[in-house]
Every structure is written in structure tokens, then in C-alpha cells.
Symmetry: C2
Subunit: 458 residues, 2 copies
């Protein structure tokens, strides 16, 4: 007989992970190295130093050390909002009338509203440790910028955020949260960088793009003494920091002797999904246990399910290194009507390799169905989920309903990465029945693929 499971499993402070888990150490096929876009040679420590913080480059390049100590200062910060609860979705199970057991790891209970804070504090910490004055970054939907602002405020580090202009104007609340935390928020493209001025001259009145904001943030970092650039997803270091999610999840499950059948997460750049699944994937890689691992992506931006596994630019401005990943091409722009933050053209190289090796599945879902799932979830479980997170909810519900048909008592774990408080424009559209789905045609995708760089491996 299993012990009665509480609604929310909270680890005690002393049970919190003290190390991050580096899944690359247990991968037989390592993710391909970053390449210099000019020379097509792998980029080493020295090549990356002008842009990234030293310790973070070491983490980026380290594919052999399985466990990396979390510095005490970061552990202390984690204690302010972690451990996050692993919630048993009793009410959702009842509503669906399913024999499945559903759990979700909820990362939204901090002011940034998402899991992004787990890596923001780590990156800010290493920047501070290196004696830097500040960091620069870009933000689209605003979750990453908010998280970084919070981390920098805590460490008294300067924080410069290039916010895509249309978000800057349409999400003034996000902007004001960042400003309250002392960040300097600049709408991108701006007059403050050469690349920004160039884009403004060529496209007056443009509302900006993530690619442009990245280019400005990188330039700002390299042009100021004592600054480096930081990024909230895709990179190996980010996945590493985010493994605190999966490690806590696994510790909480182990505490009650629960073994999941499947683990589900939404996938944009892959930071949340990679962090959640890493410890489980590690067991799978070592042949200790098997799990179904499912990445959920929007049908409007289907990197895994319809993309190519190839070297590509990480940014549309083409100033960043090339990464080998599932990609739609750096020139691919998902339909503007998509509400979520899962609009990135590429995917974490770690997850891309794992997917390529058949170690995980991927599925794409349309946004109207995603918001239907979000609404259903909110009404019974209380939490108003972010559109991104709701992609995972949708597939968790689908899997639970399959269990209802077959009578199987499967255990489903999914990642609830954040809250939707700053996404109410999208909810309003949904509430008014005005939400639509746009799926790229094969022609749309072909245009994106045509822009892939010419790398022999491609």
C-alpha cells in the first residue's frame, strides 16, 4: 500500500539539491560543439570570453563532469523561492475521471513568474564573482528579463535589458516590474547600438524582433568595459542550472516511492524541458530505468516535429555562434498570432541530440486547444497557467484521457513552468472566441531552411 500522497509535496530545505546534474556526461553521443560562424571551427574557452562570463563558458563546454556543485550563494537565493512544490493534480484527475495519476512541478511561485530565475541567479552570480559591473540580455515575452532583473537587484549588479519594441509597448507591466528591480530597459531596435541604428535606418518604424534584440545586447556587452552577455535558454549552461527542477522533482517522487511512466514538458529553447527531464534521462541513458519523455511544441513553431537537425545561427542577427540543433532556420518567423513564448526557431543542442538518438518523443499542438486545456486546468486546479506551460497541460490531459479509455493507472508528471498573469491579452482573445491557429505550410518551412548556413555537417 502506498502512503497517502499530499496535494503538494514540498522538500525540506535540507533535502534540496546541492549539485546540478550535467546530463551530457552520461550521453554517449555528445551534443555537437558550437562553431565560429566565420571559420566553422569549434569555439573554445578563449573564443567565447569576450561575450560570456568565464565560469559559465567552462560549464558550457564541460560535457564530462556529471555533478557540479551549486555555490552556497546560489543555494541561499534558491531558498527564497525553492523548493517549488510537486503538486498532485487530484482535482484535475477527478474532473477527467481518469485512473491516471497526474503530478506537476510548479515553477511559477516567484515574482518572475517562471523557472527562468533558476538560471538567472546562477548567471548573475558568476558575473558578480568575476568582478563584472553588469550584464546585458534581450527579452521577448519578458519572463527572462524579469528573472534577470531580480537576480541582479539581489546581487547589486547592473542589468541592461533590450526588450523587443512591440513587447515593450504591449507589455508595459512586464517592463515596470523590471524597472522596479532597477533594470535599464531599452526598446529594441534602439539608437544605443550600431546594429540598432542600422536596423532603424533600414526599417524605420519596425517593431523589432528577438533576433535584433540579441544582436543589440551582444554589442552592448562587448562595447562596455566590465559587461558580459547572458541568455535564458538554449545554451548547455542554462539547461544545467535548470536541472534543479528535475532533481527536486525526482527527490520528491522518490520520497513517496512514486515512479512516473512519462514526463511531459513544453519546449521553446528547451531550458525548462531539459532541466525537468535531465535526471530521468540520466537513468535512461545508464539503462537503470525507462521513461517516456515527451516534448510539446506549438504547431506554429514546430522545431522538433518538422525542423531539420543541422548547424544554424542561434540568432536572426547572425552574431552568435552556430549550434547544431533541430531548427526551422534562423529566418523563420512564427505567425504573429501565436500567444506563447515558445516562438524560438531552434532548440537546445542537448535536447536535439537526445531526440535525434530516439531517447525522447515530440508532439505539436495548436494554440486554441492549448487555451482550452489552460482554462480547464485553471478552473479545477486554481492556478492560471502561462500559455507556454499550457502546452504541457494539453498533452498531459490527452494522455490521462487515453488512460481513461484503456483503464491504465499510469503516472504522468509534467512541468508547469509559469503563470499567465502577464498574458491576459491572449486569454482575452480566447475568452472572446477570437483566437486562431496558424500552421506553417511546407513552403513557409522551405523558406526557413533555405537560410541555413552552409556547414559541411548540414
Amino acid at each position: 500500500m502506498s502512503r497517502e500522497i499530499p496535494y503538494k509535496i514540498y522538500l525540506e530545505e535540507k533535502e534540496m539539491p546541492k549539485q546540478w546534474y550535467n546530463v551530457r556526461a552520461d550521453m554517449k553521443n555528445k551534443p555537437a560543439p558550437l562553431l565560429n560562424p566565420a571559420t566553422l571551427k569549434p569555439m573554445g574557452y578563449e573564443d567565447l570570453r569576450p561575450v560570456f562570463c568565464d565560469d559559465l563558458i567552462r560549464q558550457e563546454l564541460d560535457d564530462t563532469t556529471p555533478y557540479i556543485d551549486i555555490p552556497q550563494e546560489i543555494l541561499d537565493f534558491y531558498k527564497m523561492y525553492r523548493p517549488s512544490p510537486l503538486v498532485r493534480a487530484y482535482c484535475l484527475e477527478k474532473k477527467l475521471d481518469t485512473p491516471a495519476k497526474i503530478y506537476y512541478k510548479f515553477e511559477g511561485n516567484n515574482t518572475s513568474g517562471s523557472h527562468k530565475l533558476n538560471s538567472a541567479i546562477a548567471q548573475a552570480y558568476y558575473a558578480k564573482k568575476q568582478g563584472l559591473k553588469g550584464v546585458t540580455t534581450e527579452t521577448g515575452a519578458g519572463q527572462w528579463g524579469t528573472a534577470l532583473s531580480m537576480a541582479c537587484a539581489y546581487l547589486e549588479l547592473d542589468c541592461q535589458v533590450y526588450m523587443v519594441k512591440c513587447s515593450y509597448e504591449q507589455k508595459p507591466f512586464r517592463r515596470e516590474v523590471m524597472r522596479t528591480y532597477g533594470a535599464k530597459v531599452t526598446p529594441s531596435p534602439s539608437e544605443t547600438t550600431a546594429v540598432g541604428r542600422k536596423i532603424l535606418a533600414e526599417h524605420p518604424g519596425t517593431s523589432g524582433s528577438l533576433g535584433c534584440a540579441i544582436s543589440e545586447a551582444v554589442e552592448a556587452a562587448t562595447q562596455q568595459e566590465g559587461y558580459r552577455y547572458v541568455l535564458g535558454s538554449v545554451l548547455n549552461q542554462v539547461l544545467l542550472h535548470q536541472t534543479v527542477i528535475g532533481l527536486e522533482t525526482k527527490a520528491a517522487l522518490d520520497k513517496y516511492g512514486i515512479v512516473p511512466d512519462m514526463i511531459i514538458g513544453c519546449a521553446g529553447g528547451g531550458s525548462n524541458l531539459g532541466g525537468l527531464i535531465s535526471p530521468f534521462m540520466g537513468e535512461k541513458l545508464k539503462g537503470e530505468r525507462d521513461y517516456r519523455i515527451i516534448a510539446v511544441e506549438p504547431a506554429s513553431c514546430p522545431s522538433f516535429t518538422r525542423g531539420r537537425f543541422a548547424y544554424d545561427f542561434c540568432d536572426t542577427g547572425m552574431v552568435c555562434p552556430l549550434a547544431k540543433m533541430y531548427t526551422l532556420g534562423s529566418g523563420f518567423i512564427p505567425s504573429a498570432n501565436h500567444a506563447g513564448g515558445l516562438r524560438y526557431h531552434g532548440m537546445s543542442p542537448v535536447l536535439s541530440q537526445l531526440y535525434h538518438d530516439g531517447l525522447m518523443e515530440a508532439v505539436s499542438v495548436e494554440q486554441t486547444a492549448v487555451f482550452e486545456a489552460a482554462e480547464q486546468f485553471a478552473r479545477v486546479e486554481g492556478i492560471l497557467p502561462a500559455p507556454e506551460s499550457s502546452h504541457a497541460i494539453k498533452v498531459a490531459i490527452d494522455e490521462a484521457l487515453k488512460c481513461k479509455e484503456t483503464g491504465e493507472e499510469k503516472t504522468i508528471v509534467f512541468g508547469l513552468t509559469g503563470t499567465g498573469y502577464f498574458d491576459m491579452y491572449a486569454y482575452e482573445k480566447f475568452n472572446n472566441g477570437q483566437m486562431t491557429d496558424t500552421i506553417p505550410t511546407d513552403e513557409d518551412l522551405a523558406k526557413g531552411f533555405a537560410g541555413l548556413p552552409n556547414v559541411p555537417e548540414n
Copy 2:
């Protein structure tokens, strides 16, 4: 030697309170009864039935039963977002360099963003139990309306919210959260009620007021078969439900052998403050222990510090019973430039009596200083506080700084009632240096007092 205190003290599910504590049972001087505004006679059970739910009236009138069982269905709902953490503000202490020990009970980690959910689920539950179809209410800033929408969605009860028109227009996100939870949100004044039509005819283009919204919600409840009116503050029943805050706080403190010197809470209608302090006040009333208990109110709406203890209307529409309380007069309207939700002219009759009897203190603070405290708190403790909650933060910081001067290691507990995600307009004003303070003159107050009803006790 005291045990090391974690950053966040979480009770286990089995340690959660199973009963609410009714502080009135231990009060020597009971709060005065509600009066019928026409007859000036105390209102009994039958008088209140057309407007309120039966079980809730019983709780409203019961001033002798010290403990009231929390029904299992409500306990189950509480488990979805409770226990809330009692947080040790280590980072704030360090920043202030104070020997004081600061704790806060954080009620913002649920989608409604505040403590209001504690009473919303209780009121919705009793309505459902009575076989009603739905409930009506008003909302100003929107926290109560959101909480009630969530509770009604969970219990599949119809929810009709009259939202003050200016909030409906200025806070579209709050409105959409309620709609996502299935509530019908009507801007007030509206054409849907007689009182709304009357006001619109007399004041075309009015942006509404809380008093008007209350009048519409009460009319809507009494004019529809199977509906009752519910309210988020002031009433005895609401304070009773909110004692779950204080009971959890006390249990968490007891677990670590911590005895606070002072307990601080913000005060609008009194629901959060009353809930937080009740168990401590109970000990004080019984002579078991002494605590300083401090209510913090805005200088722009100083019911305790500059109001009168008198019978007054609970609403500006004068359709509700008369309550004896500290009041600025139901016609008093605080300056529009005040950002927080603590704009109510009156105060809980229970707290009013306790204050009148010298069992608690009150202090008023100006909003610019409140936002300064909020910003300082956010940057070191991570959480972005609601403007209301920040009133308590301001005074907690003041008291901690006094300890720094005197070297006293006092233990301070304050209530952090909610988050400020939907208050970013106010933060923006503050960030831009455009926030101002308005303190009513004695003449302003005299106008409010002139409208007090003519009741012999006054």
C-alpha cells in the same frame, strides 16, 4: 540554543488548522450588532436571509463559539494553495543591518494573488451547500472578484461580479482573469439593475464607485431566484475565515519556539489583519501572553487614526445594514491618487471594538514611503508586494530600524497579503517619480462625519 530557522516554514498538510477561531467568543466587550437602517433595531437571522447565505448568517451572529469546524470540502480546497509559507526575511534583516528578527506570512502564492481566497471558498461553499445557483458581489481593485471567481469555478457555481467601471477599464487583465474562471463581469454602474439605471440617469458618464457596485450586487442577488450576495471584508464571517492565516502563523512559530514581540498588518476593511492577529489577540484577551499589535492604514484613508467610532452605513449606496465601527463616513472618498486597495471608509466592527478597548495600535503611512519600502523589499526578498501589503512592510522596516538604534533583538511578524502584478500602473508612477501623497484635511473629514446616520449610540 534555538534550532536553525529555515527561510520558509511550511506546515505539513496534517498540521494545517481544522477549525477557524472566533475571537469574539473571548472578547469581553463584544462588537455591536448590525442595525436595520430603517428601524435601528438589531438585525437577526431572519432579517438577513434575503441577502446572505444561511450558514454565513449564523457565523456572522455567533459571538460565543470559540472554534468552528472547517468543512472537509473547504479543507480540501485549502490544500490546493495552503499552507502558505511563513518566511524569515533574512535578506531584509541583512540589508537593514538590524538585530530584529523579521517574519512574514505570505498569502500571495495563489492565482487570486491575495488572502481573499480563504473566505471566497468558504462563502461559495456555503452557498453551494444551500443549493443556490450563484452569488453576486462587487469588486474594486479586483482581488476579491478574482478570488470569488476561482472559488465558484471550482464549485461550479454561477458568479456575477459588479466591477467599478474605472477598474473594469483600467484593469482589463483582472477582468480577463475573472472571465477565464467563468465569472460574468459587469462594469458598474450598469443598465442591468434599477439602482444602476438610476445612477446612470443622474450621472451620465460616471466611472462608478465601490458603493454603487455594492448596491447593484445586492439588488442583483435579491432580484434573482437562487442567488445571494457575498462580501470580501469587514463582516465578522470574513474575519472568521481569514483566521486560517493567523492559526497557521501561530502553529509555524510554535513549531520553532518563536514568540513574536509585535504583529503588524495592513488594514482596509480589516479581513487580513483580523485573520492574522486573531489567535494572538485571543491569548492577549485571556491574559496568557502580551503582544504589540499594529494596524497600518494609508494616510489618505485613516479610519482608525482619524475616524470616529460610530454606527455607519457599510456602503455608500446605503442599502446595507449599519455597523458600529471606526469610520470616516460612508460619503468619504479617498483621494483618487491613492494606489492601494485600502480605500474603505470603515473598518471591521471586531477590530474597531478591539482598538477602542486599547488592545491594538494603529498608525498611518503615506504612499510614497510605502512604495519606497515595497521597492526595497522586492529587491532583497524577491517578492513584488501589493501596494496594500506594502503598508505593513513600511512599518515592519521602521520597527526593525528602531531595533537597530536600540540594539534590541525583537521578533517582528507581519502579513504580506498579496502580490502587485496587477498594480504596475502604480509602480510605473512611482518608478517615474510621479507619485504624490494626499492627506485629507480636517475639513475633508468633517464632510464625511456630517453624513453619519443619526443613531442614538453615535
